[in-house]
Amino acid sequence: MLWVDKYRPKTLDKVLVHQDIAQNLKKLVTEQDCPHLLFYGPSGSGKKTLIMALLRQLFGASADKVKVENKNWKVDAGSRTIDVELTTLSSTHHVELSPSDAGFQDRYVVQEIIKEMAKNRPIDTKGKKGFKVLVLNEVDKLSREAQHSLRRTMEKYSSSCRLILCCNSSSKVTEAIRSRCLNMRISAPTEGENFCDTKVRRQLFQPMSMYIVKVLEFIGKKEGLQLPSGFADRIAQQSNRSLRRAILSFETCRVQQYPFTTNQPIPPMDWEEYVSEIASSIFKEQSPKRLFEVRGKLYELLINCIPPEIILKRLLYELLKKLDSELKHETSHWAAYYEHRLRLGQKAIFHLEAFVAKFMSIYKGFLIETFG
C-alpha cells in the first residue's frame, strides 16, 4: 500500500494538517446533520481526505464499504434519448460521482440523474439519518448550464439529500452555488517553519495546523526510518506545497536508497525535467527548425496525458527563471493569453506552439536589441 493511502487520516480526530477545520467539521455534524458543503483548494491539500473522514464521522464504518459501479443511464431529452455513462462510488449512505465526466452532456446528468438520486430518500431502521450524501467531484469543470440546474436541485431536495462539492478553483463555480453552500477553503499546507518569513507566517499562522515537514517526520517515525537533518526540508521544498507529492517523493527516495544520506538527490518528476529541457533548448536557439523540434517534444508530453495547461505553466516557470524582469512581464502576459485561448480552442498543441513561437520572437528581438 502506498504511504499516501496508508497514512491518510481515517477520522477527523486524526487529521494532522487541517486540525482546526477538522474540529469545526466535527462540531458541524454532531447533530447528525450538515448543510451543503463546498470544499475548495489546490490539489494535494487534503480535500478528499477531509470529505472521507467527514462521511465516516457521519455514518460510521458503513461509509467505508463502497462499491464501484459503471452505470448507464438513458436520459430522455425531448425528441431523442441520450446515453450517459458514469462511474459511481456508492455506499448505503452516499454516492460519489464526477458529473463533468459526461462532457457536454453534464447538464442531463445534473438534471436527471442527480435529481433522481436526490429524490430517493434512504430509510434507516431506526428512522433517523433520513438523508443521503452526494459527493460531486470537480464541480469547477461543470458547464454553466449544469451549474444553473444544480442550484434549484440543491434547494428543493435539501430535506432528503446533502451535497458535498469538491473543486480546485472556486472562481469557476457560480456565485449562486457558492452562496448555497458552506464554503470550506482548504489551503495547501506550508512547507515548514523555515520557509515562512514572519509576515507570511502571521497571515497564515493557524495555531493547530501542521507543516509538511512535520508530516514527513511523523511518517518517518512510524516507518522507523532515520531522517538526516534537512532531508525532509528538501523534499518539502520540492513538493510545491502539495502534501501528496511530498509523501510520494519521500517514498520514492526510500525505495531508491536507504539509509538516507544528507545530500541524496530527490528525483524530480520526469515530465518536469523534460519541460526544463524544452526550456533550455528554446533559450539556445530561436528558429523555425528549433520550433519544430520543440513541437515534437510537446506532443510527446501531451501523449503522456500531461494536461496542456500544466505544461504551459511549468514552461513559463522554467522560462521565467532565466529572464530579465522586463521580459518577464511580457512573457507572463502572453502565457496568460495563450492559456485562455487554449481553453476556448479545441487542439492544445496549436496554442502551446504559438506560445513557444511568440516567446522565441520576443527573446530573439531582445537579443538583437541588446547585443546587436
Binding site: 458541524l28 425531448g78 442550484r151 472562481s171 482548504i186 512581464h329
Partner: protein, 339 residues
C-alpha cells in the same frame, strides 16, 4: 417520509416570508400585489434584480395567498432551470397547462382563488431565445386563463417582446438598515449573539443579498456556536482577508516581478478564489490615492479582461500573474503588452 429535523432546514427557507406584505424593502411590488389580492386582477409580471432580494419569495407568496394550500398544486406551475426548459417543454408542458380553463371556486376557504392559473418561470434568463420566442404567442392566446411570472437576474437576457408583455418590477438591493433588522430578528429567534462589528461586517460582505447574509450566518452558527465574531463570518464567506490583498498590492508596487510572483503563488496555494481576489483588488486600486487616474484605468481594463478569461475557464494562476504584472507596469509607467 421520515420527519425532517427542524435544524436541518436551511434558515433561508425557514425565514422565507410567507406573505407578500412581509417582503422587505420592495414597496412598489408589494403595493401592486396587495392590490391584486383585493381585486384579484393581475397582469403578467416580470421580476428582475440582483440575487437575494426576494423575487422568488414574492412570487411564491402571492401564489400561496391567492390559492391557499389546497388549490396551489393544481393552479400553479413552477418551472426553474433545474427542469428542462427547452423549446419542447414550452410547446407541450407549458402550453398544455396554460390551455386548461378554470373557474372561480369559492368554498369559503378564505382565499381569493381568481379564475386563472399562474405559471412561474424562475431563472428565466437562462432560457434559450427560441424557447422565449415560442412563449410569445402562448402568453397572448391564453391570457384569459393564465398569468405568467418571469423571474430573472438580468433583464437584458429576456427578449424584448416578452418583456413588453409584462409589468416590470425591479427589485432593489436591500439597504443595510433593513438587512440589519432582519438579521437581528433571526438572531433573536435562533438565540445567537452578534456584536455590532460582526453585524456591519455581515452586511458589508453580503452586499445587499439577504440570502447570502443568512447563509453566512447559519454557516458561522454551525461552525462556531452561538456567539459569532466578524472574523468567523469572514472565514465562512470566502472573502479574502484585507492583509492578503494588501500584500499582493504592495508587491505590485514594489516593482519586483519575483516578489509579485511569490505573492501570487501564495494566493493560489492558500486556495483563495481569484475572481474574489480580483474584485477586492479592484476596490483597493480604485480607492488608492497615490495612483493617477490613467494608471487606474489601465489596471482596471486588465482586471476586466482577466475576469472574462476566468469565466471562460482560464487558469487562475496565469490570469492573476498577468494582472499583477500589468499593475506593476502601470504603476511604474512602463508600456504594457497586448491589445
Amino acid at each position: 417520509m421520515a420527519p425532517v429535523l427542524q435544524s436541518s432546514q436551511p434558515w433561508v427557507e425557514k425565514y422565507r416570508p410567507k406573505q407578500v406584505k412581509d417582503v422587505a424593502h420592495q414597496d412598489e411590488v408589494v403595493r401592486v400585489l396587495t392590490n391584486t389580492l383585493e381585486t384579484t386582477n393581475c397582469p403578467h409580471m416580470l421580476f428582475y434584480g440582483p440575487p437575494g432580494t426576494g423575487k422568488t419569495t414574492t412570487a411564491l407568496a402571492i401564489a400561496h395567498q391567492l390559492y391557499g394550500p389546497e388549490l396551489y398544486k393544481s393552479r400553479v406551475l413552477e418551472l426553474n432551470a433545474s427542469d428542462d426548459r427547452g423549446i419542447n417543454v414550452v410547446r407541450t408542458k407549458i402550453k398544455n397547462f396554460a390551455a386548461v380553463a378554470v373557474g372561480t371556486v369559492r368554498h369559503g376557504s378564505g382565499y381569493p382563488c381568481p379564475p386563472y392559473k399562474i405559471i412561474i418561470l424562475d431563472e428565466a434568463d437562462s432560457m434559450t431565445e427560441d424557447a422565449q420566442n415560442a412563449l410569445r404567442r402562448t402568453m397572448e392566446t391564453y391570457s384569459k386563463v393564465t398569468r405568467f411570472f418571469f423571474i430573472c437576474n438580468y433583464i437584458s437576457r429576456i427578449i424584448e417582446p416578452l418583456a413588453s408583455r409584462c409589468a416590470k418590477f425591479r427589485f432593489k438591493p436591500l439597504t443595510e438598515e433593513i438587512m440589519t433588522t432582519r438579521i437581528l430578528y433571526i438572531c433573536k429567534e435562533e438565540g445567537l449573539n452578534l456584536d455590532s462589528e460582526a453585524l456591519s461586517t455581515l452586511s458589508c460582505i453580503s452586499q445587499g443579498d439577504l440570502r447570502r447574509a443568512i447563509t453566512y450566518l447559519q454557516g458561522a452558527a454551525r461552525l462556531f456556536g452561538s456567539s459569532i465574531s466578524s472574523k468567523d463570518l469572514i472565514s465562512v464567506s470566502g472573502v479574502i482577508p484585507e492583509d492578503v490583498v494588501q500584500a499582493l498590492f504592495s508587491a505590485c508596487k514594489s516593482g519586483n516581478f519575483d516578489t509579485a510572483d511569490k505573492e501570487v503563488k501564495n494566493v493560489i496555494a492558500e486556495g483563495y478564489s481569484v475572481s474574489q481576489m480580483l474584485s477586492q483588488l479592484y476596490d483597493v486600486i480604485v480607492e488608492s490615492d497615490d495612483i493617477s487616474d490613467e494608471q487606474k484605468a489601465r489596471i482596471c481594463k486588465k482586471i476586466a479582461e482577466a475576469d472574462k478569461c476566468l469565466i471562460d475557464g482560464a487558469d487562475e494562476y496565469l490570469q492573476l500573474l498577468g494582472v499583477a504584472s500589468n499593475t506593476m507596469c502601470a504603476i511604474s509607467n512602463m508600456p504594457s503588452f497586448g491589445s
